[in-house]
Amino acid sequence: MGSKRHFRVWRGDDSGGQLEDFDVEVNDGEVVLDIIHRLQATQAPDLAVRWNCKAGKCGSCSMEINGMPKLGCMTRMSTFEETETVTVTPLRTFPVIRDLVTDVSFNYQKAREMPAFAPPDLAPGEYRMKQVDVERSQEFRKCIECFLCQNTCHVVRDHEENKPAFSGPRFFIRAAELDMHPLDQRTDRKEFAQAEQGLGYCNITKCCTEVCPEHIHITDNGIIPMKERVVDRKYDPLVWLGKKIFRRDELEAK
């Protein structure tokens, strides 16, 4: 039932590297990460790749497959033509450590700069919230921190210089989550996002939403509402524009 398929996998480290060619067996029902594992077990035992759960729940195996940011465990081989070469490269926005593993510490730094949940003055067990009120934040808490949105965002993808001032979509929805948390005691989440996280750099192209494996409406439910409410105090033409732009799938649906 297996067939030989052609893979090109980027191999190298921070000093450079190149695509290497592999012919490898592919069986029915397998995903790209399975093939990477087969390469490790049979041809390249030191091929570096991150992975954990292999079920789309931990967000570890982020990579670029034929140029698209994806989770290796969620990309089925059946989505490629039999004769198609599958090219696997590391996330482009982050520095390469080795092969498919990149240094994603940028994201952990940005997480640290984000002011934490500010609890109300209530004893544990005394918190009361309505389901309808927690649901808005719960959507953002589905985030598995695969950082595909961070990787695809063109504000930093080819613009290293923007990184210090820009936290990226993952942390805009963290800000939105806390902003919408019924009991968070801070009232300046939006202003913080605008002033410290670089929310204004975002021009709502919705690339982040497109690559999100959890289907979180990063732009529509997180970024735009934040921008809109900052606008109360500050005009942002991008908000107006954002409402006129549709994702590819929304256009197709029309």
């Binding site: 029915d28 759960c53 931990c58 949940f117 918190y127 808490r141 985030c143 806390l178």
Partner: protein, 652 residues
């Protein structure tokens, strides 16, 4: 010869899942300098996979619930082999530990009056599981992760450094604990990223490394579950308890191969899904054991009526306890009536409308659609048993989490520790276990560090030995055996001979095979350098998997009964004499094998014994054990629902 970073800490926590993070928070709140060592990136631990929820008798949905009911359920689930004190502490403290998460920012699903919602689950008398849809584990990891970040922000505000008092060492693996006489002195390991070595010098170490599932071919566990903490404890002189008890969940995916082992929730069967073999037969009717015959339907017609009229019909046999269903599936496959991928069919498509399935099982629909390209509203699923959880683990003091054995300063919490769940864990009791005993281990590790007069010292000799062990696979290089091949052989042995159904001859064979594998594990080689080299990492994990597998095989051969997560075909019944026996593994004096001994199970305190009816206990206990039951029942009357006095809510 080799550069080694050295970092002194008060408390080092190995493992960054729920138990490890909770332990670290507690130790930091106690004023200690804490290192958290994570084999993966921060926030990726296996805890994220937990779906159902955290069991805690908050009584938000049914006010009849309290710690005594939860305690009883836990003991029943474990078939009374549980360490009763752990089950007691767990039941008493779980609500406070869950509420505390809200102060860290967790957002659980709510009841109509705004409290934390609670759901029903197998073995729990009342709705008890705090949850967030079916991603409760992710919520818990993220909440604890964000709490740690907030503590770092506090430290930044007061010291100007985020990592002054609590630091996460991500993608760092510990290969050896280093001792100073009979005390823990440090932990040695490597960074996955660059292969550089690191030595943590610390008087107190908390093991929170999770389970052992990667020794099996089919498992729901992630790559990290290689029994590291179990093996580190053994090599440091501690003991493991009841390693024969492994929970095999009956319904893991078997097709496609990429997702083999991933869980299919029990709710599929609860909502009408049935099991069929390759001949299309609904086979579970052939597997109802005598003790359950009265409670389960004998015909398909009656079984089908139960879903809408449970009061006048008996339950479908698909809803037998997990171990029964798993054994039945196993038998069908062995008899040649399995699917091509080696499972059976779980069919809900032919029994419920697509609308019903989408509404009741949205995440299962997506799981199969996205991972398998199977539409469960149109096609049956292929499923089979999957290795899910190890009940056995490091033998600990129930109150402090201190590891038993010859070594001081070592603590364990979460799946790596043993005793709490007895022979079988109830769903939902794992997430609460992490919180309760993670907190306790952190607290007592901090106290232990405070109480030391002199800091234990790592000897250069032991450090050099650890370095040598870590470098050995690289030094053998291509002359050594491919670690992937050795790993697959180990998985074959455990899957085929120490799996869900066990028998003497096969267990004896497994012990011989594992002894042979010992030589192969000692000779694995890794090519490539030290920089993020998975082959090298696997080579180092293998010796942990091997010794833990030996413990499981030895204990499984010794225990001549069937109980919870240990099924012996040659001893199919539960035996009240065996209920009084814990099996304890230690490393033998030469360090090349496992010693096994029997140890009495601690007897329940009188008032806890009195929480059960005598007639129920008679199924598990000998008459001698029940002689004082009347007095016990009387003393149980003194217990109250608010009697959680030996516990306090932790700091914010």
């Amino acid at each position: 010869m080799t550069d080694i970073q050295r970092h002194p800490y008060d408390v080092v926590v190995i493992g960054a899942g729920g138990a490890g993070l909770r332990a670290a928070i507690e130790a930091r709140l106690a004023g200690k300098r804490v290192a958290i060592i994570s084999k993966s990136l921060f926030g990726k631990a296996h805890t994220v996979m937990a779906e159902g929820g955290a069991a805690a008798s908050m009584g938000n949905v049914n006010s009849n619930d309290n710690w005594m009911v939860h305690f009883r359920d836990t003991m029943r689930g474990g078939k009374f082999l549980n360490n009763f004190r752990m089950a007691e502490l767990h039941a008493k403290e779980a609500p406070q530990r869950v509420w505390e998460l809200e102060t860290y920012g967790a957002l659980f699903d709510r009841t109509p009056d705004g409290k934390i919602s609670q759901r029903n689950f197998g073995g729990h008398e009342y709705p008890r599981l705090a949850h967030v849809g079916d991603r409760t584990g992710l919520e818990m990891i993220r909440t604890l992760q964000q709490k740690i970040v907030s503590l770092q922000q506090d430290d930044y505000a007061s010291t100007g450094q985020y990592e002054a008092n609590i630091k996460v060492y991500a993608e760092c693996a510990i290969t050896d604990l280093l001792l100073d006489g009979d005390r823990v002195a440090g932990a040695f390991g490597y960074f996955r990223e660059n292969g550089e070595f690191i030595l943590f010098e610390a008087p107190a170490i908390v093991l929170a490394t999770g389970g052992v599932g990667k020794s099996y071919k089919v498992t729901s566990n992630s790559w990290e579950y290689t029994g590291d903490g179990h093996a580190l404890a053994l090599r440091a002189g501690s003991t493991l308890i009841n390693m024969e008890f492994l929970q095999f969940h009956p319904t893991g995916m078997v097709w496609p191969p990429s997702v083999k082992g991933i869980l299919v929730t029990e709710s599929v069967r609860g909502d009408g899904g049935i099991l069929k073999n390759s001949e299309g037969k609904r086979f579970m009717f052939d597997y109802v054991p005598d003790v359950f015959r009265k409670q389960y339907a004998e015909t398909e017609e009656e079984a089908d009526r139960w879903y809408t009229d449970p009061d006048n019909n008996r339950r479908p046999p698909e809803l037998l306890p997990r171990d029964e269903v798993a054994r039945a599936i196993n038998s069908e496959v062995k008899a040649g009536r399995g699917t091509p991928a080696g499972g059976v069919y779980l069919d809900i498509a032919s029994r419920r409308t697509p609308e019903f399935i989408l509404k009741r099982l949205p995440s299962m629909y997506h799981q199969f659609k996205e991972l398998a390209d199977v539409d469960i509203t149109k096609q049956p699923m292929e499923i089979g048993p999957t290795c899910h959880y190890v009940m056995g683990g490091v033998e600990v003091d129930p109150d402090t989490g201190a590891a038993a054995g010859t070594i001081a300063g070592l603590f364990a919490a979460g799946e790596v520790s043993g005793g709490m769940h007895g022979s079988n864990r109830l769903g939902g009791n794992s997430l609460s276990d992490l919180l309760v005993f993670g907190k306790r281990a952190g607290e007592y590790a901090a106290k232990y560090a405070d109480g030391l007069k002199a800091t234990p010292k790592v000897s250069e000799a032991s450090l050099n030995a650890a370095v040598e062990t870590a470098l050995a696979p690289l030094n053998r290089g291509a002359d050594g055996e491919n670690p992937y091949n050795v790993w697959h052989s180990l998985q074959e042995v455990m899957q085929n001979l120490v799996g869900i159904i066990r028998r003497r001859e096969e267990l004896e064979q497994s012990i011989k095979d594992l002894a042979e594998l010992r030589g192969r594990v000692a000779n694995v080689g890794a090519t490539g350098g030290r920089k993020f080299n998975p082959g090298w990492h696997l080579a180092l994990d293998l010796r942990n998997m091997l010794v833990v597998s030996e413990c499981t095989a030895r204990a499984a051969l010794e225990r001549e009964e069937s109980r919870g997560g240990h099924t012996r075909e040659d001893f199919p019944a539960m035996d009240n004499q065996w209920r009084q026996v814990n099996l304890i593994c230690s490393l033998n004096p030469t360090g090349d094998g496992v010693d096994l001994k029997r140890q009495p199970v601690p007897a329940l305190r009188s008032e806890l014994l009195g929480l059960f009816e005598k007639s129920e206990l008679a199924k598990y206990m000998t008459e001698a054990e029940l002689a004082d039951h009347d007095a016990a029942a009387k003393s149980a009357e003194s217990l109250t629902v608010t009697d959680t006095a030996d516990t306090k809510v932790g700091g914010k």
